[in-house]
Symmetry: C2
Subunit: 287 residues, 2 copies
């Protein structure tokens, strides 16, 4: 599979190709993206290529997951660089649809998830996860793969997608892959491109807040103390905090003794909103 | 295919069976029902059996499409009669899931359709079409058939399902089959079982209102005049009108010149709410 990927615009055409591949007994992997690909996406694709016979990558900046005041118009679009990156990785198909191919004229259907979609990003970005669930549901019908790969960087998104897949009985496995980081710990994100050099330096505070949360968690601190530790790191670097806390890793409700938790943070560095998280192994003390 | 149908509770097991059948080149048809089967359902199943190699019928009284004050608890349930009817028709599989099989604990996903779902039943029964779209989406993943059969009696429902299928790219064809009627014109409905003998006589007013609408439509009457004709028939039989009008057959907006329309009616006969409709061929005059 070192061939050049075939770029397909029509979801139905890709569906047919994926179906033929699976009918021939081949395992198909799918990596949905919004383009502006970085090494984080690269790690998803590499794992997909390692585990599957054929891999499809979609590149679609989904308008419905951006709110009115958000960065849809200026979201980075780097089609040549994306193609170059994917060309070397052994991807078989690139799905590059136009908006009308995903949302036909008169489209009126929305997939909504409650539960894990409600707090954090759900509260900060009304409608965001409806847009995510709807487009992922649509894409999973265009690419009926065995397995789809998502990055742990968007932890809440992985929970929303897994819940939707379970609830609607979608016949696809969800694989969650580790966050890829810069040497100083900053999680890779297409939005890092927005950061001025001085902001880039301050942005490491999100990672540092997760380190602080981990230390507090491991020494048995309660939620209030963990939040305080996270906030002091973020405030010191002038990050405007959206949320910074620990939650149950699966439900995102308050942490529960004996279950994994997640430290989760969102904040603005200048005009750029960044998110990050880290999984925390279950402890006896719970929250 | 004159064998006894195999009753399956587990959606995943049926999915596997349907997949194996299709992989062997067989055409699979699906008839989703809420049980309490009558000759209307029978006609859907007969057409499915005629057109397909294998047919699955689901029997599931879907709680989420009933509103708080509606008849979920007393909706007719006739499992023995249903099995007897289906046993003679050449059905291969009956999917009879428990509520937990369709809505797993913690289920938090809803499929919503706007557009054709908003007027008429959407207004009269808030949440009804969310329940329909969600369960049909779920069932289509349990029964990945080539084609699913729905009755024209629930015209708006067929529009909602078709819109969802198109918008989410669900790989299934939707076939809409003619309404089956009693000799006096009353559309068959599981809810007709609620009618006392005197109510049963008055219930023919819904059909009669569609006859009146058709006559007015064909003579070129405007919407107001058509509605008046429908209402005078319904009032004469003491049917409490929910709505009685004509609409574009596909969008359910106001009728448009040169496009098909639908006469559509809902009302209560005693405590029983009934609906009916009739397709009206396009005319030059439109609305």
């Amino acid at each position: 599979m070192a061939e050049v990927p075939l770029t397909i615009r029509d979801p139905a055409a890709l569906r047919a190709a994926v179906g033929a591949s699976r009918a021939a007994g081949r395992r198909v992997g799918f990596v949905p993206t919004m383009g502006a690909l970085h090494r984080g996406h690269g790690s998803l694709v590499e794992r997909a290529v390692a585990e599957c016979d054929d891999v499809a990558v979609s590149v679609f900046v989904n308008p419905t997951q951006f709110g009115p005041g958000e960065d849809f118009a200026r979201y980075p679009r780097t089609p040549e660089a994306d193609a170059a990156l994917l060309g070397g990785l052994g991807v078989r198909w690139i799905l590059a649809p136009a908006p009308d191919d995903i949302y036909p004229p008169g489209a009126a259907t929305r997939v909504s998830v409650e539960g894990p979609a409600l707090p954090f990003e759900g509260r900060a970005r009304p409608g965001h996860f409806d847009g995510v669930a709807t487009v992922v549901c649509r894409l999973f019908h265009a690419v009926p793969a065995d397995v789809a790969y998502f990055g742990a960087k968007d932890w809440q998104q992985t929970l929303v997608v897994k819940r939707m897949v379970r609830d609607l009985g979608l016949p696809i496995e969800i694989a969650v892959c580790p966050t890829v980081r810069e040497p100083d710990g900053l999680a890779l994100s297409s939005r890092n491109a927005y950061l001025a050099p001085e902001e880039r330096q301050r942005a490491v505070a999100l990672f540092a807040s997760l380190e602080a949360a981990t230390a507090e968690w491991q020494r048995g601190a309660d939620v209030a103390r963990i939040e305080l530790a996270m906030r002091s790191v973020l405030v010191a670097r002038s990050v405007a905090i959206d949320y910074a806390t620990v939650a149950d890793a699966e439900t995102l409700a308050a942490p529960v003794a004996g279950r994994d938790a997640v430290a989760i943070v969102a904040g603005r560095v200048g005009a750029t909103r960044l998110i990050d998280n880290r999984l925390l192994a279950a402890r006896r003390g719970g929250g």
